[in-house]
Amino acid sequence: MGTKRTIYMDHAATTYARKEVVDAMIPYFTRHFGNPSSIYGIARESKKAVDAARAQVATALGANPDEIYFTSGGSESDNWAIKGVAYANRKRGNHIITTTIEHHAVLHTCRFLEKEGFTVTYLPVDRYGRVDPADLEKAITDKTILVSIMYANNEIGTIEPIQDLAAIAQKHKVYFHTDAVQAIGNIPIDVKEQNIDLLSLSAHKFYGPKGVGALYIRNGVRIENLIHGGAQERKKRAGTENIAGIVGCGKAIEFVTADIEGHNARILAMRDRLLKGVLEKIPHARLNGHPTERLAGNFNVSFEFIEGESIILWLDDEGICASTGSACTSGSLEPSHVLLATGLPVEISHGSLRLTLGDANTEEDIDIVLEVLPKVVSRLRDMSPLYQKAANDGGGNV
Protein backbone atom coordinates (compact mmCIF):
# COMPACT_ATOMS: atom_id res chain seq x y z
CA MET A 1 0.00 0.00 0.00
CA GLY A 2 1.87 3.09 1.18
CA THR A 3 0.04 5.28 -1.33
CA LYS A 4 -2.70 6.03 1.17
CA ARG A 5 -2.74 9.39 2.84
CA THR A 6 -1.55 9.49 6.42
CA ILE A 7 -4.18 9.71 9.13
CA TYR A 8 -2.35 10.96 12.20
CA MET A 9 -4.09 9.89 15.40
CA ASP A 10 -1.24 10.03 17.88
CA HIS A 11 -1.44 13.64 19.03
CA ALA A 12 -0.74 12.63 22.65
CA ALA A 13 2.67 11.36 21.55
CA THR A 14 3.51 14.55 19.72
CA THR A 15 1.94 17.10 17.39
CA TYR A 16 3.17 18.72 14.22
CA ALA A 17 4.29 22.32 14.63
CA ARG A 18 1.71 24.78 13.36
CA LYS A 19 2.85 26.76 10.30
CA GLU A 20 2.40 30.13 12.02
CA VAL A 21 4.56 28.83 14.86
CA VAL A 22 7.37 27.74 12.55
CA ASP A 23 7.15 31.03 10.62
CA ALA A 24 7.52 32.93 13.88
CA MET A 25 10.56 30.85 14.82
CA ILE A 26 12.57 31.11 11.58
CA PRO A 27 13.98 34.65 12.04
CA TYR A 28 15.45 33.59 15.37
CA PHE A 29 17.67 31.01 13.70
CA THR A 30 19.05 33.36 11.08
CA ARG A 31 18.60 37.07 11.78
CA HIS A 32 17.97 37.44 15.50
CA PHE A 33 20.41 34.74 16.54
CA GLY A 34 22.18 36.82 19.21
CA ASN A 35 22.79 35.50 22.67
CA PRO A 36 20.32 37.29 24.96
CA SER A 37 23.10 37.67 27.52
CA SER A 38 25.04 39.96 25.15
CA ILE A 39 24.32 43.67 24.97
CA TYR A 40 24.44 44.60 21.26
CA GLY A 41 21.42 45.16 19.08
CA ILE A 42 20.68 41.68 17.72
CA ALA A 43 21.04 40.24 21.21
CA ARG A 44 18.46 42.69 22.51
CA GLU A 45 16.08 41.35 19.86
CA SER A 46 16.57 37.84 21.26
CA LYS A 47 16.00 39.04 24.79
CA LYS A 48 12.81 40.81 23.76
CA ALA A 49 11.56 37.68 22.04
CA VAL A 50 12.15 35.53 25.14
CA ASP A 51 10.36 38.06 27.31
CA ALA A 52 7.40 38.14 24.93
CA ALA A 53 7.16 34.34 24.90
CA ARG A 54 7.36 34.28 28.68
CA ALA A 55 4.42 36.67 28.82
CA GLN A 56 2.46 34.47 26.40
CA VAL A 57 2.99 31.37 28.54
CA ALA A 58 2.17 33.30 31.73
CA THR A 59 -1.08 34.59 30.23
CA ALA A 60 -2.11 31.09 29.18
CA LEU A 61 -1.65 29.83 32.75
CA GLY A 62 -2.87 32.84 34.71
CA ALA A 63 0.65 33.26 36.10
CA ASN A 64 3.05 36.19 36.34
CA PRO A 65 5.77 36.23 33.67
CA ASP A 66 8.48 36.05 36.35
CA GLU A 67 7.05 32.69 37.43
CA ILE A 68 7.74 31.04 34.04
CA TYR A 69 11.06 29.29 33.40
CA PHE A 70 11.86 27.81 30.02
CA THR A 71 13.30 24.30 29.93
CA SER A 72 14.08 21.63 27.36
CA GLY A 73 10.61 20.08 27.73
CA GLY A 74 8.26 18.10 29.93
CA SER A 75 10.79 15.64 31.28
CA GLU A 76 13.18 18.35 32.43
CA SER A 77 10.34 20.33 33.97
CA ASP A 78 9.12 17.29 35.91
CA ASN A 79 12.65 16.41 37.03
CA TRP A 80 13.33 19.97 38.12
CA ALA A 81 10.03 20.42 39.97
CA ILE A 82 10.37 17.18 41.93
CA LYS A 83 14.11 17.01 42.59
CA GLY A 84 14.31 20.78 43.08
CA VAL A 85 11.57 20.90 45.71
CA ALA A 86 12.80 17.70 47.36
CA TYR A 87 16.38 18.94 47.78
CA ALA A 88 15.41 22.47 48.85
CA ASN A 89 12.98 21.26 51.50
CA ARG A 90 14.59 18.12 52.87
CA LYS A 91 15.09 19.76 56.28
CA ARG A 92 11.31 20.09 56.51
CA GLY A 93 10.59 16.53 55.51
CA ASN A 94 11.42 13.69 53.16
CA HIS A 95 7.97 12.53 52.04
CA ILE A 96 6.60 12.93 48.52
CA ILE A 97 3.16 11.89 47.28
CA THR A 98 2.41 11.03 43.67
CA THR A 99 0.23 8.49 41.85
CA THR A 100 0.66 5.12 40.16
CA ILE A 101 -0.34 6.49 36.75
CA GLU A 102 2.18 9.32 36.30
CA HIS A 103 4.39 9.67 33.27
CA HIS A 104 7.77 8.01 33.69
CA ALA A 105 9.39 11.46 33.92
CA VAL A 106 7.65 11.73 37.31
CA LEU A 107 7.69 8.06 38.36
CA HIS A 108 11.33 7.43 37.60
CA THR A 109 12.33 10.72 39.26
CA CYS A 110 10.48 9.60 42.40
CA ARG A 111 12.19 6.20 42.26
CA PHE A 112 15.52 8.00 42.02
CA LEU A 113 14.69 10.10 45.07
CA GLU A 114 13.76 6.96 47.02
CA LYS A 115 17.37 5.89 46.57
CA GLU A 116 18.42 9.28 47.94
CA GLY A 117 16.55 8.73 51.19
CA PHE A 118 13.15 10.16 50.33
CA THR A 119 9.93 8.25 50.97
CA VAL A 120 7.32 8.21 48.21
CA THR A 121 3.63 7.31 48.45
CA TYR A 122 2.06 6.23 45.16
CA LEU A 123 -1.68 6.91 45.39
CA PRO A 124 -3.92 4.35 43.68
CA VAL A 125 -6.59 5.24 41.12
CA ASP A 126 -10.09 3.89 40.58
CA ARG A 127 -11.10 1.82 37.55
CA TYR A 128 -11.36 5.01 35.50
CA GLY A 129 -7.92 6.24 36.47
CA ARG A 130 -9.12 8.90 38.94
CA VAL A 131 -7.35 9.71 42.20
CA ASP A 132 -9.63 10.04 45.23
CA PRO A 133 -8.89 13.33 47.05
CA ALA A 134 -9.69 11.54 50.33
CA ASP A 135 -6.73 9.22 49.67
CA LEU A 136 -4.46 12.24 49.30
CA GLU A 137 -5.76 13.73 52.55
CA LYS A 138 -4.99 10.46 54.36
CA ALA A 139 -1.52 10.11 52.84
CA ILE A 140 -0.23 13.53 53.94
CA THR A 141 1.98 13.45 57.03
CA ASP A 142 4.00 16.13 58.82
CA LYS A 143 6.98 14.94 56.72
CA THR A 144 5.24 15.56 53.38
CA ILE A 145 6.88 18.28 51.30
CA LEU A 146 5.48 17.74 47.81
CA VAL A 147 2.45 16.35 46.02
CA SER A 148 2.86 15.68 42.29
CA ILE A 149 -0.25 14.60 40.37
CA MET A 150 -0.72 14.82 36.62
CA TYR A 151 -3.48 17.04 35.26
CA ALA A 152 -4.60 14.54 32.63
CA ASN A 153 -3.23 11.12 31.79
CA ASN A 154 -1.41 10.63 28.50
CA GLU A 155 -2.59 7.07 27.92
CA ILE A 156 -6.22 6.92 28.98
CA GLY A 157 -6.96 10.66 28.94
CA THR A 158 -8.51 10.72 32.41
CA ILE A 159 -8.62 14.21 33.91
CA GLU A 160 -7.76 14.35 37.61
CA PRO A 161 -9.69 16.51 40.13
CA ILE A 162 -6.74 18.91 40.31
CA GLN A 163 -8.53 21.76 42.02
CA ASP A 164 -9.67 19.52 44.90
CA LEU A 165 -6.28 17.83 45.19
CA ALA A 166 -4.39 21.12 45.15
CA ALA A 167 -6.73 22.56 47.79
CA ILE A 168 -5.89 19.67 50.11
CA ALA A 169 -2.17 20.16 49.57
CA GLN A 170 -2.53 23.88 50.27
CA LYS A 171 -4.51 23.23 53.45
CA HIS A 172 -1.59 21.14 54.72
CA LYS A 173 1.01 23.66 53.46
CA VAL A 174 2.49 21.13 51.07
CA TYR A 175 3.72 22.15 47.61
CA PHE A 176 1.53 20.97 44.73
CA HIS A 177 3.08 20.15 41.35
CA THR A 178 1.13 19.02 38.30
CA ASP A 179 2.44 17.56 35.06
CA ALA A 180 0.09 19.39 32.69
CA VAL A 181 1.81 18.23 29.52
CA GLN A 182 -1.38 16.68 28.13
CA ALA A 183 -3.73 19.29 29.53
CA ILE A 184 -2.48 22.48 27.87
CA GLY A 185 -4.90 23.56 25.19
CA ASN A 186 -7.45 20.95 26.24
CA ILE A 187 -8.41 22.20 29.71
CA PRO A 188 -8.58 25.84 30.84
CA ILE A 189 -5.91 26.35 33.50
CA ASP A 190 -5.55 29.12 36.04
CA VAL A 191 -2.72 28.34 38.43
CA LYS A 192 -3.75 31.01 40.94
CA GLU A 193 -7.37 30.00 41.11
CA GLN A 194 -6.44 26.32 41.23
CA ASN A 195 -3.72 26.71 43.91
CA ILE A 196 -1.03 25.12 41.75
CA ASP A 197 2.54 25.80 42.93
CA LEU A 198 4.44 24.15 40.08
CA LEU A 199 3.30 23.11 36.59
CA SER A 200 5.16 21.36 33.76
CA LEU A 201 4.42 21.85 30.09
CA SER A 202 5.95 20.81 26.78
CA ALA A 203 5.56 22.71 23.49
CA HIS A 204 5.50 19.72 21.13
CA LYS A 205 2.25 18.52 22.68
CA PHE A 206 0.41 21.65 21.59
CA TYR A 207 1.56 22.29 18.01
CA GLY A 208 4.86 23.84 19.05
CA PRO A 209 8.42 22.64 18.47
CA LYS A 210 10.15 19.74 20.22
CA GLY A 211 12.94 20.36 22.71
CA VAL A 212 11.32 23.22 24.59
CA GLY A 213 8.93 23.48 27.50
CA ALA A 214 8.48 25.40 30.69
CA LEU A 215 8.09 25.06 34.41
CA TYR A 216 5.79 27.43 36.24
CA ILE A 217 7.13 28.05 39.74
CA ARG A 218 4.90 30.15 41.95
CA ASN A 219 6.83 33.01 43.50
CA GLY A 220 7.98 31.99 46.95
CA VAL A 221 8.36 28.25 46.28
CA ARG A 222 11.63 26.94 47.70
CA ILE A 223 13.36 25.04 44.91
CA GLU A 224 16.93 24.05 44.06
CA ASN A 225 18.33 24.42 40.56
CA LEU A 226 18.60 21.35 38.37
CA ILE A 227 20.87 22.74 35.62
CA HIS A 228 23.80 24.68 37.09
CA GLY A 229 25.91 27.15 35.12
CA GLY A 230 25.26 30.62 33.75
CA ALA A 231 22.77 33.18 35.02
CA GLN A 232 20.03 32.52 32.44
CA GLU A 233 16.37 32.33 33.48
CA ARG A 234 17.00 34.60 36.45
CA LYS A 235 19.79 32.34 37.71
CA LYS A 236 17.48 29.36 38.00
CA ARG A 237 18.12 27.44 34.79
CA ALA A 238 21.52 27.70 33.17
CA GLY A 239 22.19 27.31 29.45
CA THR A 240 21.93 29.66 26.49
CA GLU A 241 18.27 30.09 25.72
CA ASN A 242 16.71 28.08 22.90
CA ILE A 243 15.44 31.33 21.44
CA ALA A 244 13.64 29.98 18.39
CA GLY A 245 12.13 27.16 20.45
CA ILE A 246 11.01 29.55 23.16
CA VAL A 247 9.43 31.84 20.55
CA GLY A 248 7.63 28.80 19.13
CA CYS A 249 6.48 27.71 22.57
CA GLY A 250 4.99 31.14 23.28
CA LYS A 251 3.29 31.39 19.91
CA ALA A 252 1.92 27.85 20.13
CA ILE A 253 0.44 28.26 23.61
CA GLU A 254 -1.20 31.50 22.54
CA PHE A 255 -2.88 29.71 19.62
CA VAL A 256 -3.90 26.62 21.53
CA THR A 257 -5.46 28.45 24.47
CA ALA A 258 -7.30 31.02 22.35
CA ASP A 259 -10.44 28.92 21.95
CA ILE A 260 -10.24 25.78 24.06
CA GLU A 261 -14.00 25.33 24.13
CA GLY A 262 -14.44 25.55 20.38
CA HIS A 263 -11.49 23.23 19.78
CA ASN A 264 -12.82 20.69 22.27
CA ALA A 265 -16.33 20.74 20.83
CA ARG A 266 -15.03 19.84 17.38
CA ILE A 267 -12.64 17.13 18.58
CA LEU A 268 -15.13 15.68 21.06
CA ALA A 269 -17.80 15.22 18.39
CA MET A 270 -15.34 13.23 16.26
CA ARG A 271 -13.99 11.23 19.20
CA ASP A 272 -17.47 10.27 20.39
CA ARG A 273 -18.55 9.19 16.93
CA LEU A 274 -15.41 7.10 16.64
CA LEU A 275 -15.89 5.54 20.05
CA LYS A 276 -19.57 4.81 19.54
CA GLY A 277 -18.91 3.31 16.13
CA VAL A 278 -16.09 1.10 17.34
CA LEU A 279 -18.01 -0.21 20.36
CA GLU A 280 -21.02 -0.92 18.15
CA LYS A 281 -19.10 -2.66 15.39
CA ILE A 282 -16.59 -4.63 17.46
CA PRO A 283 -17.65 -7.07 20.19
CA HIS A 284 -15.44 -7.74 23.23
CA ALA A 285 -14.15 -4.19 23.25
CA ARG A 286 -14.07 -1.89 26.26
CA LEU A 287 -13.26 1.73 26.88
CA ASN A 288 -10.30 2.47 29.12
CA GLY A 289 -10.33 5.64 31.19
CA HIS A 290 -13.19 7.79 32.41
CA PRO A 291 -16.32 7.99 30.23
CA THR A 292 -16.73 11.75 30.66
CA GLU A 293 -13.83 13.17 32.70
CA ARG A 294 -11.37 12.64 29.87
CA LEU A 295 -9.43 14.62 27.29
CA ALA A 296 -11.59 15.38 24.26
CA GLY A 297 -9.19 13.78 21.81
CA ASN A 298 -8.45 10.58 23.73
CA PHE A 299 -9.75 7.19 22.60
CA ASN A 300 -8.36 4.17 24.44
CA VAL A 301 -10.07 0.84 23.89
CA SER A 302 -9.01 -2.71 24.66
CA PHE A 303 -9.86 -5.48 22.23
CA GLU A 304 -9.89 -8.89 23.86
CA PHE A 305 -8.01 -11.88 22.38
CA ILE A 306 -5.58 -9.82 20.29
CA GLU A 307 -2.37 -7.93 20.87
CA GLY A 308 -1.86 -4.20 20.38
CA GLU A 309 1.28 -4.10 18.29
CA SER A 310 -0.36 -6.26 15.64
CA ILE A 311 -3.28 -3.85 15.51
CA ILE A 312 -0.94 -0.90 15.10
CA LEU A 313 1.12 -2.54 12.36
CA TRP A 314 -2.04 -3.20 10.36
CA LEU A 315 -3.33 0.33 10.95
CA ASP A 316 0.05 1.67 9.87
CA ASP A 317 -0.33 -0.32 6.68
CA GLU A 318 -3.56 1.62 6.09
CA GLY A 319 -1.80 4.91 6.82
CA ILE A 320 -3.24 5.28 10.32
CA CYS A 321 -0.78 6.31 13.06
CA ALA A 322 -1.80 4.91 16.45
CA SER A 323 -0.26 3.58 19.65
CA THR A 324 -0.83 0.87 22.23
CA GLY A 325 -0.25 0.04 25.88
CA SER A 326 0.89 -3.45 24.98
CA ALA A 327 4.25 -4.59 26.28
CA CYS A 328 5.18 -5.72 22.81
CA THR A 329 5.94 -2.24 21.54
CA SER A 330 8.55 -1.72 24.21
CA GLY A 331 10.18 -5.02 25.05
CA SER A 332 9.04 -4.76 28.63
CA LEU A 333 7.39 -7.71 30.32
CA GLU A 334 4.54 -5.65 31.67
CA PRO A 335 2.01 -3.79 29.61
CA SER A 336 1.09 -0.18 30.42
CA HIS A 337 1.44 0.64 34.12
CA VAL A 338 -1.54 2.95 33.71
CA LEU A 339 -3.91 0.27 32.41
CA LEU A 340 -2.76 -2.12 35.12
CA ALA A 341 -3.30 0.59 37.77
CA THR A 342 -6.94 0.84 36.70
CA GLY A 343 -7.28 -2.87 37.44
CA LEU A 344 -7.48 -3.99 33.81
CA PRO A 345 -6.33 -7.63 33.56
CA VAL A 346 -2.85 -7.99 32.07
CA GLU A 347 -3.95 -10.02 29.05
CA ILE A 348 -6.57 -7.42 28.12
CA SER A 349 -4.09 -4.59 28.61
CA HIS A 350 -2.02 -6.13 25.82
CA GLY A 351 -4.88 -5.55 23.41
CA SER A 352 -5.25 -1.83 23.96
CA LEU A 353 -5.35 0.75 21.20
CA ARG A 354 -4.90 4.47 21.76
CA LEU A 355 -6.02 6.97 19.16
CA THR A 356 -5.54 10.63 20.08
CA LEU A 357 -7.27 13.12 17.84
CA GLY A 358 -6.12 16.63 17.15
CA ASP A 359 -6.38 19.56 14.81
CA ALA A 360 -5.29 17.58 11.77
CA ASN A 361 -8.21 15.15 11.92
CA THR A 362 -11.38 15.31 9.88
CA GLU A 363 -14.71 13.51 9.86
CA GLU A 364 -13.41 11.57 6.86
CA ASP A 365 -10.56 10.23 9.01
CA ILE A 366 -13.14 8.88 11.44
CA ASP A 367 -15.01 7.19 8.57
CA ILE A 368 -11.83 5.51 7.40
CA VAL A 369 -10.88 4.24 10.88
CA LEU A 370 -14.41 2.95 11.39
CA GLU A 371 -14.10 1.03 8.17
CA VAL A 372 -10.56 -0.29 8.68
CA LEU A 373 -10.41 -1.10 12.39
CA PRO A 374 -13.17 -3.74 12.55
CA LYS A 375 -11.47 -5.61 9.67
CA VAL A 376 -8.10 -5.49 11.41
CA VAL A 377 -9.53 -6.74 14.70
CA SER A 378 -11.43 -9.51 12.99
CA ARG A 379 -8.42 -10.62 10.95
CA LEU A 380 -6.27 -10.85 14.08
CA ARG A 381 -8.98 -12.60 16.07
CA ASP A 382 -9.33 -15.18 13.32
CA MET A 383 -5.75 -16.26 13.95
CA SER A 384 -5.88 -15.97 17.74
CA PRO A 385 -6.05 -19.21 19.75
CA LEU A 386 -7.66 -17.23 22.59
CA TYR A 387 -10.57 -16.13 20.45
CA GLN A 388 -11.15 -19.70 19.40
CA LYS A 389 -11.11 -20.78 23.05
CA ALA A 390 -13.61 -18.11 24.01
CA ALA A 391 -15.89 -19.37 21.22
CA ASN A 392 -15.54 -22.98 22.38
CA ASP A 393 -16.33 -21.97 25.95
CA GLY A 394 -19.56 -20.46 24.66
CA GLY A 395 -18.28 -16.93 25.17
CA GLY A 396 -21.47 -15.18 24.05
CA ASN A 397 -21.38 -13.37 20.75
CA VAL A 398 -17.82 -14.32 19.79
Binding site: A12, A13, T14, H103, H104, H108, N154, E155, F305, I306, E307, E309, S310, L313, W314, D317, S323, G325, S326, A327, C328, T329, S330, G331, S332, L333, E334, P335, S336, H337, V346, E347, H350, D382, M383, S384, P385, L386, Y387, Q388
Partner: protein
Protein backbone atom coordinates in the same frame (compact mmCIF):
# COMPACT_ATOMS: atom_id res chain seq x y z
CA UNK B 1 11.90 -1.79 12.87
CA UNK B 2 10.94 -5.05 11.13
CA UNK B 3 12.55 -6.50 8.00
CA UNK B 4 10.53 -6.75 4.81
CA UNK B 5 10.36 -10.52 5.27
CA UNK B 6 8.90 -10.15 8.76
CA UNK B 7 6.32 -7.71 7.45
CA UNK B 8 5.50 -10.04 4.57
CA UNK B 9 4.93 -12.98 6.92
CA UNK B 10 2.96 -10.77 9.30
CA UNK B 11 0.69 -9.37 6.60
CA UNK B 12 0.39 -12.56 4.58
CA UNK B 13 0.92 -15.26 7.17
CA UNK B 14 1.38 -18.75 5.73
CA UNK B 15 -0.35 -21.73 7.29
CA UNK B 16 -2.79 -19.92 9.54
CA UNK B 17 -5.47 -22.17 10.95
CA UNK B 18 -5.92 -25.57 12.46
CA UNK B 19 -5.46 -29.11 11.25
CA UNK B 20 -8.38 -31.42 11.84
CA UNK B 21 -7.28 -34.44 13.87
CA UNK B 22 -3.69 -33.26 14.14
CA UNK B 23 -0.96 -35.75 15.00
CA UNK B 24 0.80 -33.31 17.26
CA UNK B 25 -0.19 -30.07 18.96
CA UNK B 26 1.99 -27.66 20.90
CA UNK B 27 0.80 -24.59 22.76
CA UNK B 28 3.38 -22.27 24.28
CA UNK B 29 3.46 -18.77 25.73
CA UNK B 30 1.22 -16.97 28.12
CA UNK B 31 -1.48 -14.34 27.63
CA UNK B 32 0.05 -12.39 30.51
CA UNK B 33 3.27 -11.99 28.50
CA UNK B 34 1.24 -11.04 25.46
CA UNK B 35 1.97 -14.02 23.24
CA UNK B 36 0.55 -17.51 22.76
CA UNK B 37 1.44 -19.81 19.89
CA UNK B 38 -0.45 -22.96 19.02
CA UNK B 39 1.21 -25.26 16.47
CA UNK B 40 -0.59 -28.13 14.70
CA UNK B 41 1.33 -30.88 12.86
CA UNK B 42 0.18 -33.58 10.46
CA UNK B 43 2.77 -36.36 10.42
CA UNK B 44 2.97 -39.27 7.96
CA UNK B 45 5.84 -41.77 7.82
CA UNK B 46 7.95 -39.66 10.17
CA UNK B 47 7.54 -36.63 7.88
CA UNK B 48 5.77 -33.35 8.68
CA UNK B 49 3.30 -33.24 5.80
CA UNK B 50 1.39 -30.23 7.10
CA UNK B 51 1.92 -27.56 9.73
CA UNK B 52 -0.48 -24.84 10.81
CA UNK B 53 -0.66 -22.28 13.58
CA UNK B 54 -2.82 -19.92 15.56
CA UNK B 55 -1.09 -17.08 17.36
CA UNK B 56 -2.01 -14.32 19.76
CA UNK B 57 0.83 -11.86 19.75
CA UNK B 58 2.81 -9.08 18.14
CA UNK B 59 4.01 -8.81 14.55
CA UNK B 60 7.18 -10.80 15.29
CA UNK B 61 5.19 -13.58 16.98
CA UNK B 62 2.88 -13.96 13.99
CA UNK B 63 5.75 -13.80 11.48
CA UNK B 64 7.79 -16.33 13.50
CA UNK B 65 4.85 -18.77 13.59
CA UNK B 66 4.36 -18.37 9.86
CA UNK B 67 8.06 -18.89 9.07
CA UNK B 68 8.52 -21.81 11.49
CA UNK B 69 5.58 -23.72 10.03
CA UNK B 70 6.95 -23.09 6.54
CA UNK B 71 10.38 -24.36 7.55
CA UNK B 72 9.23 -27.65 9.11
CA UNK B 73 6.92 -28.69 6.30
CA UNK B 74 8.31 -31.69 4.41
CA UNK B 75 11.00 -32.31 6.99
CA UNK B 76 11.60 -35.52 8.92
CA UNK B 77 10.77 -35.23 12.61
CA UNK B 78 14.50 -35.34 13.40
CA UNK B 79 15.19 -32.43 11.06
CA UNK B 80 12.13 -30.52 12.25
CA UNK B 81 13.36 -30.92 15.83
CA UNK B 82 16.70 -29.36 14.80
CA UNK B 83 14.99 -26.14 13.71
CA UNK B 84 16.46 -23.50 16.00
CA UNK B 85 15.02 -20.14 16.92
CA UNK B 86 18.08 -18.58 15.27
CA UNK B 87 17.22 -20.32 12.01
CA UNK B 88 13.68 -18.93 12.20
CA UNK B 89 15.00 -15.43 12.89
CA UNK B 90 17.57 -15.69 10.09
CA UNK B 91 14.95 -16.86 7.62
CA UNK B 92 12.99 -13.74 8.56
CA UNK B 93 16.08 -11.61 7.75
CA UNK B 94 16.49 -10.90 11.42
CA UNK B 95 14.35 -9.84 14.37
CA UNK B 96 14.95 -6.89 16.71
CA UNK B 97 16.81 -8.13 19.84
CA UNK B 98 13.77 -7.56 22.08
CA UNK B 99 11.71 -9.74 19.73
CA UNK B 100 14.03 -12.75 19.65
CA UNK B 101 11.84 -14.41 22.27
CA UNK B 102 9.16 -14.71 19.57
CA UNK B 103 11.42 -16.99 17.55
CA UNK B 104 12.17 -18.94 20.74
CA UNK B 105 8.46 -19.41 21.20
CA UNK B 106 8.18 -20.81 17.65
CA UNK B 107 10.97 -23.31 18.30
CA UNK B 108 9.36 -24.35 21.57
CA UNK B 109 5.96 -24.69 19.90
CA UNK B 110 7.35 -27.02 17.23
CA UNK B 111 9.17 -29.05 19.90
CA UNK B 112 6.07 -29.39 22.00
CA UNK B 113 4.01 -30.50 19.01
CA UNK B 114 6.64 -33.11 18.05
CA UNK B 115 6.78 -34.45 21.60
CA UNK B 116 3.00 -34.52 21.75
CA UNK B 117 3.14 -36.82 18.70
CA UNK B 118 5.89 -38.95 20.25
CA UNK B 119 4.04 -39.31 23.55
CA UNK B 120 0.84 -40.30 21.75
CA UNK B 121 2.78 -43.00 19.93
CA UNK B 122 4.38 -44.40 23.06
CA UNK B 123 7.77 -42.88 22.27
CA UNK B 124 9.99 -41.14 24.80
CA UNK B 125 9.77 -37.38 24.34
CA UNK B 126 12.97 -35.78 23.12
CA UNK B 127 14.77 -33.56 25.56
CA UNK B 128 15.46 -29.89 24.99
CA UNK B 129 19.21 -29.54 24.50
CA UNK B 130 19.35 -25.78 24.92
CA UNK B 131 16.71 -24.61 27.37
CA UNK B 132 15.60 -21.09 26.58
CA UNK B 133 14.24 -18.51 28.86
CA UNK B 134 11.18 -16.71 27.66
CA UNK B 135 12.54 -13.36 28.61
CA UNK B 136 11.95 -9.75 27.75
CA UNK B 137 13.81 -6.51 28.27
CA UNK B 138 12.83 -3.78 30.67
CA UNK B 139 11.91 -0.56 28.95
CA UNK B 140 9.07 1.78 29.71
CA UNK B 141 6.01 1.51 27.56
CA UNK B 142 5.08 4.91 26.22
CA UNK B 143 8.14 6.84 25.04
CA UNK B 144 6.60 10.25 24.72
Amino acid sequence: MYSETVMDHFKNPRNVGEIENPDGVGEVGNPVCGDIMKIFLKIENNIVVDAKFKTFGCGAAIASSSMATELVRGKTLEDAWQLSNKAVAEALDGLPPIKMHCSVLAEEGIHMAINDYRTKHGLVPWEETSPHLHEHGEDPVYQE
